[in-house]
Symmetry: C2
Subunit: 701 residues, 2 copies
Amino acid sequence: MTDKQLHALFNPESVAVIGASSTPGKIGHSILKNLLEAGFNGPIYPVNPKASSILGRKVVNDISELPRDVDLAVITIPRNLVIPSIDKLGEIGVRAAIVITAGFKEVGGQGYYLEQELIEAAKKHDMALLGPNCLGMINTHGLVNASFAAGQPDQGNIAFFSQSGALCVAILDWALGENIGFSKFISLGNKAALDEADMISYLGKDEKTDVILGYLENVNNGEKFVQKAISHSNEKPIIIIKSGTTSAGAKAASSHTGAITGSDQAYSSAFLKSGVIRAHDVETLFNLAQAFSTQPLPKGPSLAIVTNSGGPGIMAADACEKSSLNMARISSASIELMKEFLPTYASLYNPVDIIGDAGAERYFKTMETVVKDSNVHSMLVVLTPTSSAASEIDEICHGIVKIAQKTDKPVFACFMGKKIISSGKKILMNGSVPCYSFPEPAIRCIEQMHKHFQWKNNPCPLPTPVSRDKGRAALIIDRVKKSGQNEIVEFRAQEILQAYTLPVPRTALVRSSHEAVEVAERFGYPVVLKIASPNISHKTDVDGVKLNIKTPDEVRKVFLEITGRSARLRPDAHIAGCLIQEMASRDCKEVIVGFKRDDQFGPLIMFGLGGIYVEVLKDISFRLAPITRDDAQKMIREIKSYMLLKGFRGDPPINFDAVENIILSMSQLAMDFPEIYEAEFNPILVNSEQAIVADVRMTLS
Amino acid sequence: MTDKQLHALFNPESVAVIGASSTPGKIGHSILKNLLEAGFNGPIYPVNPKASSILGRKVVNDISELPRDVDLAVITIPRNLVIPSIDKLGEIGVRAAIVITAGFKEVGGQGYYLEQELIEAAKKHDMALLGPNCLGMINTHGLVNASFAAGQPDQGNIAFFSQSGALCVAILDWALGENIGFSKFISLGNKAALDEADMISYLGKDEKTDVILGYLENVNNGEKFVQKAISHSNEKPIIIIKSGTTSAGAKAASSHTGAITGSDQAYSSAFLKSGVIRAHDVETLFNLAQAFSTQPLPKGPSLAIVTNSGGPGIMAADACEKSSLNMARISSASIELMKEFLPTYASLYNPVDIIGDAGAERYFKTMETVVKDSNVHSMLVVLTPTSSAASEIDEICHGIVKIAQKTDKPVFACFMGKKIISSGKKILMNGSVPCYSFPEPAIRCIEQMHKHFQWKNNPCPLPTPVSRDKGRAALIIDRVKKSGQNEIVEFRAQEILQAYTLPVPRTALVRSSHEAVEVAERFGYPVVLKIASPNISHKTDVDGVKLNIKTPDEVRKVFLEITGRSARLRPDAHIAGCLIQEMASRDCKEVIVGFKRDDQFGPLIMFGLGGIYVEVLKDISFRLAPITRDDAQKMIREIKSYMLLKGFRGDPPINFDAVENIILSMSQLAMDFPEIYEAEFNPILVNSEQAIVADVRMTLS
């Protein structure tokens, strides 16, 4: 897909409507009507085999009769005619098509194959393809409404794309009611060719778009999505709803990482990685859109609240304390200034309560002082329609707009009420100051904007390189693959870890109790014995691990017990003997590092504390590979039980560097070998000195 | 306060306005104007020393000249004239007063004492007193608007009281804009006499009120509040915002319970206990008010979603899965029925997706089938304004209203959009079907209604009695009080536990290493030694606890170490010796039970797992004492780490009965002895057989 094709799709110079209809209510009629009513400047060609004129336009009876300069064709004809039409359109040089017609992949069966043919046809003719099964596209600034949506949105700087046509309809109607403008409005339909990543890429460069909104149920290509989002989220906020939080994939989970890691975490991690802001509902999507499209980002977390009423001020302060923002400490210089014009009963601290009888002048002077305060990064102006405020509501709002225009800090309003304040709300809207009905959504918006500021100003270095002997690891993995095993046995997996310079306990495979004692004597007591079998991946299922073995006699006895029990419980399993390992120091904490390969986004790295913290409390952090050292540090700090690692009740802190290295190596391993489907180091025994990978499990796909 | 006075306040037959003014904009003018405009039927007497006529009404120049039949006086005169006026009004038999005037307790200093005098004056004359520092009161059905608020709300079945006058103003304006009606609208002001509990009590019996809403920053009297709320929340939903989540009280915390337990938990627990629904923001307050005031409660958790669009259907299902509701399983009989009239592409399962071209008839038949299904407890009708839906929007809405009126199950609508759907929204509103713009708030409302249904249908038995020797415990506590100590030393506290038949380990106080060995031999090894000092409450601070002591030599050595170290580190402390205890079995889990006395609501009982679960992860549950066995069971089940107690990785479940008994005893102890400020059993060692209180701390107030 070249830019030329996309340009033809969004900014066509001429449009053909294949399947234009003279019957009002039919889609082919609505599309033509919308094109005409939007005031499109170029030629419009209705195509219909029978009619001669529709809506005053001369009809072309067959595609072959169209002139050779058509940029965009909007297709709304029966399913079985779509592909032949694409071919004909391609032959006369049409560069872009919007297929409105449904009945493709979404209905399964024959529809699936038809969609494949459609993709091929568009590809053959080098044609941009939007849909099928979509509502169409609107470019307000280009005066193109190539959709059958009811109503024409105003011009604006917000672009919206959606995988759900119904949501397009709903949001368009909502925007019309709220006077919200759009730059582009795109229904993606089945995303046969053009998908969310293409939209981000195109809209990211679109001069008329300042904020990109999207509604998705899945992404077509995770890697492409992340790559496009990363390259544009720095310039323009990308805010997306991802719905349909389905359960994990079809592959059965063979580790805790696998059991815990669902596709929703992968989406969240992908959004986090690429600077995409995730909205969890449509209301939030729009609140954020208004905030990001009108106000600058706050350069710090400190919020000042100016209010004419105590109760709502407290509610706003509560909401601020619950967020990652904090209440700004108003400087004493500002307080001195405000003392001069505020009444005695006013509260000069934050929230600055200028009392119910405040009018426009008092509001203005206070806002001017507060917003200039260098301790303040953002300001929220709260108003309840007291009689003083109500009688000067327009002047107050003009004042807010004036202040917002003069400062580079974001200014938000929260007007509690509806009827009396409505004229003021309009002034704010026209002056590009977002106004909310309640303090909480306003503060959630400022919080997201501050997070986005932090993300933008994160140096975002390249993934931290890890030193390793990739060739040696590849040899081992190849050998396992050739053996036809899926599971890499611990002893082999340890060799891979060594190739990644990860510390593992001294380990040997022993085939008899005699050999076990010999090795134990060499390692020194206590030792650990574990069943060694390529067929037994959950060793604890057969009670196949015994720690803290202290004497030769015990070694002998445990060896016979473990191998005997395993053979009895799993008669099908090949028992290679036991692994014998030196025992790590007892004052260790257990952590887990794992990854699972998400179908869309690749390896999702997981970190958590061992045992119940992961299994019961689900206290885990995630990142998509490849990761940076900064990511690894954040993963460790994000879990709730982080305090246990930092040192608790007099324990020294663990060796964080060592754990970070293990996380980084896990990420590197996942990137190096796409054939590893999942891996888990569990437990990793960590104390203030070192971190040792005491057990490992790896599964090939 | 008798009902007669309250009746005079809310339903006066005549009203005097003390401080009526002829100047528009003045409060004394607005009140008179509001009274007149509301259409009040009885006589209205403006009182003003100078004027002769205001707003066409003859003015009374002095209170003494008023007739003897005045029920209610609304007072808006300078602060220093208020109390003399109350006296004069009392003398002529006025039964109720609303004091609008500010400058009392809220300004501190002199104002505080004036408010005390005001309370006394009202009490002396047996007068109901609303305010001071309030906006007034509106009774829409009585045609009384005794407030200076701008605008007159419609009649409705929702009552609202608020501690913030500004919030009254905001909500009134909001209600006017949304056409929401009210029964009573009450600004509480400083709550000098009438408070939230009085309002709940009055509105609970008010025939015009079906739902009670409130905004509070604190409660005047916790016990009274809980008592009144309990007696009315069963009949009418009480929905309250409590803002200003301040940090814990002034008393320094001497236990984990103390450190963790803030007043916000006490409010939440008090609301839970009394069936009050807590809203966390104004938007939720109103969403809930609309839901509760129009629809019946769902009798079960199963929700059915009927939608004309896939995306919004998925969003609704996501929201349902995140809530405590579940998606109803549509019965096969219903599915068979729907197959007859729904198109092939429709999805017959839940969400029932009737496709974008659905009109009124398809909606109606589907809703009718779904709502009758016995697997369905509530129904949410989702609509996006597709052209088919838009063209029949009014019929669709009439259909929804008809269905809702015929069924005893709650029916909600979620219409995504704004402009096209606005006529439909009005039909729903007039037909008492709540309609939301997004699925999430609708589902949160249904969830709260289901929770309220469960609460109402909880047998709510009396607090479970606990057998104990209260006299014996009283003797011990008295002795400690007389000694002037605040902290009850462990040895004495153990005696109290024994009086409550709680299991404690065999314990003895030993004063020498020799005596320690003697006792250890009698108890049997291993034993525990703990420092015994009334001055050392955190024994671990001096490393004053040693577990698992196995030999006489070790006992001797540890005794000398502990007492020596304690004396060295805390030279001021009186060292009584050591406590020696038998050692509980090693396969125990540690839990904590504690309580702290909240200033408003009394003892707040806490439960959690020992160690980091409480301290780091804050995984705790709360209830206000006195509690029932059901409460104790829920407290245990509410914590996230409950699964550890239930049996994890092959461990047997703990003895839940024994832990419940300890929680119940803690509650009983807290109720029996108001002089105990806080207490904590930590750790309680629990396994499948028993629960032993291994350490205890109690502090007197």
